[in-house]
Point group: C3
Chain length 471, copies 3
Amino acid sequence: MAGSPSRAAGRRLQLPLLSFLQGATAVLFAVFVRYNHKTDAALWHRGNHSNADNEFYFRYPSFQDVHAMVFVGFGFLMVFLQRYGFSSVGFTFLLAAFALQWSTLVQGFLHSFHGGHIHVGVESMINADFCAGAVLISFGAVLGKTGPAQLLLMALLEVVLFGINEFVLLHLLGVRDAGGSMTIHTFGAYFGLVLSQVLYRPQLEKSKHRQGLYHSDLFAMIGTIFLWIFWPSFNAALTSLGAGQHRTALNTYYSLAASTLGTFALSALVGEDGRLDMVHIQNAALAGRVVVGTSSEMMLTPFGALAAGFLAGTVSTLGYKFFTPILESKFKVQDTCGVHNLHGMPGVLGVLLGVLVAGLATHEAYGDGLESVFPLIAEGQRSATSQAMYQLFGLFVTLMFASVGGGLGGLLLKLPFLDSPPDSQCYEDQVHWQAPGATLSPLPTPAFQVPGEHEDKAQRPLRVEEADTQA
Amino acid sequence: MAGSPSRAAGRRLQLPLLSFLQGATAVLFAVFVRYNHKTDAALWHRGNHSNADNEFYFRYPSFQDVHAMVFVGFGFLMVFLQRYGFSSVGFTFLLAAFALQWSTLVQGFLHSFHGGHIHVGVESMINADFCAGAVLISFGAVLGKTGPAQLLLMALLEVVLFGINEFVLLHLLGVRDAGGSMTIHTFGAYFGLVLSQVLYRPQLEKSKHRQGLYHSDLFAMIGTIFLWIFWPSFNAALTSLGAGQHRTALNTYYSLAASTLGTFALSALVGEDGRLDMVHIQNAALAGRVVVGTSSEMMLTPFGALAAGFLAGTVSTLGYKFFTPILESKFKVQDTCGVHNLHGMPGVLGVLLGVLVAGLATHEAYGDGLESVFPLIAEGQRSATSQAMYQLFGLFVTLMFASVGGGLGGLLLKLPFLDSPPDSQCYEDQVHWQAPGATLSPLPTPAFQVPGEHEDKAQRPLRVEEADTQA
Amino acid sequence: MAGSPSRAAGRRLQLPLLSFLQGATAVLFAVFVRYNHKTDAALWHRGNHSNADNEFYFRYPSFQDVHAMVFVGFGFLMVFLQRYGFSSVGFTFLLAAFALQWSTLVQGFLHSFHGGHIHVGVESMINADFCAGAVLISFGAVLGKTGPAQLLLMALLEVVLFGINEFVLLHLLGVRDAGGSMTIHTFGAYFGLVLSQVLYRPQLEKSKHRQGLYHSDLFAMIGTIFLWIFWPSFNAALTSLGAGQHRTALNTYYSLAASTLGTFALSALVGEDGRLDMVHIQNAALAGRVVVGTSSEMMLTPFGALAAGFLAGTVSTLGYKFFTPILESKFKVQDTCGVHNLHGMPGVLGVLLGVLVAGLATHEAYGDGLESVFPLIAEGQRSATSQAMYQLFGLFVTLMFASVGGGLGGLLLKLPFLDSPPDSQCYEDQVHWQAPGATLSPLPTPAFQVPGEHEDKAQRPLRVEEADTQA
């Protein structure tokens, strides 16, 4: 019970434990983390560089867009719940701020551990934000049904598995996945979905009526649009400099535009009375950038980007309409934000598209650029076909890590002392947030109501007339 | 009737037709659109460039700002309507996503069609977003009175005329218009205004009372501020590299600051009891960047930018206060967002300012920079005076294209099967969007109401007086 | 009285006076302000530069982030007040637009006045925005209790003192303060706090109940998040190119992440029933970037950044919980936004951290980079210890300028003709803004309330318990 001493004590003790988590992280930073040669005052000036050569200028603008997506985009996208806005934005803030520190360590140990130290710079900032993004995708699958302590434990585990999966794919298998269709979207989605399945709450049906407030949906659109506009930077942030980043951004731009049209088309087709559903627009329109996550750095061609984006938008919309209910009824997965439709299916499609485009790679098409997109093919160690096979194999590895990890995570989150909110408190901010005496929330009334059709039908129209006649 | 089977069927059929539109666009992309030499893996590496030379790094950060303005800025600026927020943001999203694809083709055929192909890169992304901006300006003039199918038809036509007008001005007449006072603001505004005139609805007066909700106005301010802060990037996005972009951003920055002060000054001067009007702040403060759209790349001088911005802010504010009512009563133009005040008049002023500044151009003032700002003058093909005359002529060409196009568009949009919303459903989301059982909207109550006094309508007129007399 | 002819006349006259302020500024611009050699068409092309060398490309992306923080971040952060949102965003807009022009002149005369002219470019844009930021910090201390004319007078004075203080610190004392812990945060905070003390309103207690509306807090989170994500750019905007900007952004990034965790930990620890307080999250989480404002360009080490950020987050949270009430009761300072917790204390901590890190500077740690971070030490004019002493002395100078200036400002703002809002109208938009007949505001009801239970206040305390016991 939210107000009972025991729970209060539980809450009072759990988040403060963050201090120890932060303390431990700080100690590890002290021991292992150092500036890299593009960040360190002495090392940078030792080499005889022009300042324009500093990677900062090639990657930082993209990083800032990614940073905005992680904190503004993911945070507000989840504000669509009527009385869970504080938690959606607040826990996104907390989770991402923790995940980016923790993944700086995990990814550092796996990717850039030299001479006993992790060397950090703008690339590690981008990689850490990417990992935080995967954690937030999983968060979307359990949104409203988990407390902050549970979420932090989830992040603690997921960041480690994310790093290992990424290491296996990129370094051991030589898989290409610049925009993270595999490492971020597919991994984050299925980790969260399996975890949500383990935490299945049979009595939660009713919670549905707590979703959606007119202005909450407008806040959510802030998240949608910021994710949408900056996604070209997300996919391009870590691709090869020059034409690589240029092409990646361009492909993503076209793919997103097409998925938006596909979403509107399908949403109207399947909507009641042919009306549009805001849930589709908020989410499915974003599927276009997931589907090109792997292939946007490749010679996908502008046409390929449009076709892939349109396909992703339609599939994602159909998923929200028809598959989400099945997911809950048949598979016992309560996918609060529909991450399966937004990240899961489009992610898998994106991997398959990557398999196709990689398999079609030729020296003619890439010229000397082959070295930067498919180094192993350029060096003659692999044929395009075998690269494609490795890409496909990467999908299975990712699904394996995600499922096992999500299942394990679900069991951990069931630990009794973790203060999981009771069914009656799910999707409610009040269990986690103080309501200062004067904090107010809009009075719920039916959507699109014409003033006057509220309780007292007779009086309101009058009042409006009055207001008008005064004017 | 919104819910009638016929209309429902109409809606259900129209938006899905988007799929064919998208299919046709995709086919045209497949046939004609190719990566340019800065985007293509093989072509880029063939030339022996340093990655820092890739245009991506000079223009992409500005592109991202433009992209944010188009989707966040225009979208939320139009959320000021009380129950039309879904449509304002949603249709902005749809229209812009379609327009940028379509204009990539149209502009490509006209501007960068070589060897049977359109070559795309960051410049074409910026140009496409610019064209989408013009379409959204026109959207502002018919906001709330048109359905998505009508809007898409409008975009289909407007994008073509935008491209032709732009081609005539920039390529045939050698007009300079980096920030689009002519090609974007003047064209978009008058195209939309004439179109709105053709669609005049004599019975729509009352709809006014549907405008304005406290939080809707705050959402609109999100749009205003994002448009305001990023406009220096908009004007600078396509100007010459180096000092050109630098100067353009600086001029726009000063002009915007001055137009903001001018708007507050005039809004208080003409406001009832000297109070400020949020509509003025949301819109007129932005006029400063329209007025320097043409001249911001020129040697306008910081003083010139301030003076122009201040003038634009005052003119725009007076337009909202005094001219908009006349526009509806006398000219039968129902300009929902006041695009005439925000884009029309300031756009024309901007052209005239461009005429003046171009006419004053000298080799002394521009030095070797003359080549990049006024190539025809630098090459001795034109005198500054003749360049000024061409600039002025460009205005008439633009007004001609905009008026004829807007009139034609208005007739097309009257086609009966296009599902235009009935007067009673204008400015209402419900005709276009599903209202899931739990979607809620705030209960309308008078502005600035003191809590607790909301039940009794009778006292409302009084109450405000009381509140005042307490003071 | 808001509605009385006298007040109305007062308002109607005051803001229009802005025109003269703008006119005077414009004249000064005409006489003194010129493009610098990186912005002027002739000067830039005279030197034989590659366009990539133009400072625009190194600093403009950071400038845009700073610009977004000033107008979006500060503006929306202050929307947390229930019925003061128009004024929070609107006056932020007005103040910043004036301050950046005025400070371009003041800073220009003090920093870049050569040959009778002020030379402007992207650096002056950044400096002007920084100064506007300091003015907005002071605004936060008097938010809701001052009219626009008073605020403009405050800005007029503060910008001058800001420029002088900055000149004394950076040019006379050789203090390093890239991110402005001293010049921006400490100065802005104490200037505003002393000013607020002079304007103390003993009867204002009750106004507290006007704070906080559910959606207002969500709007405020928009401000919080945009400030949070872009602060690395703020601190890095003016640091030395290359590794300097790179390192500054990285340090700020880590510090912010740690302060977020510290804030959540402490907020839960001190919150009633261990619940989180949105006020802490909105504000204290940002303290992390204030505390590294001075030292983020130095070799702070990633660990140092984490430790400093965590400390700042905890101290700031405790300030909101325990010190703000004392500040009002004992020191008669009504700090509306808690700028003492967000900018004051963290700012002073930041200065002390800078003293420490500067004192530890060695040639080994900085190598040839020492020249760009501590030129006076590199040139042998100072020892690290004496540099540290100068840093510390800079704090006292800043506090002196801020207190004297704030006191003086407070007396000026008391001038009777300045139309200060009466206590009953504090935190109310209606005194400053028109309420068009149809402008509506959400009906206030208790936070997290279950729909339908809003009428009877009696059950409200109970209700929460019930909800709990169901669990």
